[in-house]
């Protein structure tokens, strides 16, 4: 991804990523988590503010650190690392509310040309998956790495 992004740390399986958001509210720790779902070969993507003391994550909080594009670019960047380690899986993503899901859609739209070089992206509308198109509102997304 060409957009500015934060550096991040991961663990051996590339399923957890930690980075620091820097903005008007100061430094805020973020965690990106890929969790295996019940269905084989699907992982749920989620991220939020990370409290290291309690090992808990809040994906409801509105951080307002004025760096949402950079945070989204960082989360998107982790997809490359995750799917390098897990090339055959699907990644399911949705926001914690409609506004967040819309933000994800905007993030995908902004980078669609670059994303579709390496990934196929589907959006969910009323229980049907469609290939992702700009200007459509989706309820959730599914992403899979293309095998070049």
């Amino acid at each position: 991804m060409k957009l500015p992004r934060y550096d991040y740390l991961t663990e051996g399986n590339a399923e957890l990523f930690k980075f620091n958001s820097h903005g008007i509210k100061g430094e805020i720790k973020k965690l990106v988590v890929y969790t295996k779902m019940l269905e084989e070969d699907i992982y749920n993507l989620a991220f939020g503010d990370y409290d290291e003391e309690t090992d808990s994550i809040n994906d409801q909080v509105i951080t307002n650190n004025n760096d949402s594009q950079k945070v989204l670019a960082t989360v998107a960047s982790t997809l490359y690392v995750f799917t390098e380690k897990h090339p055959l899986v699907w990644v399911y993503a949705t926001g914690s509310n409609h506004a967040r899901t819309r933000l994800y859609r905007m993030g995908i739209t902004t980078n669609l040309e670059e994303i579709t070089i390496d990934f196929v992206v589907y959006g969910l509308i009323e229980d049907v998956w469609y290939e992702f198109e700009k200007e459509k509102n989706y309820e959730a997304f599914l992403i899979k790495r293309k095998l070049h």
Partner: protein, 49 residues
């Protein structure tokens, strides 16, 4: 092109390992979100790919 230039142009970032994250592996950190996602996939399935 030098190795550094190649790395900077790569979509794959250089990522460092933090072993402290391993304590979180396998934990269900977003139980409600995961349950909802599982329900959607059980109902809708995957796209025809």
């Amino acid at each position: 092109m030098t190795t550094i230039e190649k790395l900077n142009r790569s979509k794959m970032p250089v990522v460092k390992i933090d072993k402290s994250l391993e304590k979180l592996r396998g934990k269900n950190l977003f139980p409600e979100k995961l349950a909802k996602a599982n329900k959607v996939i059980a109902r809708v399935g995957l796209p025809k790919f």
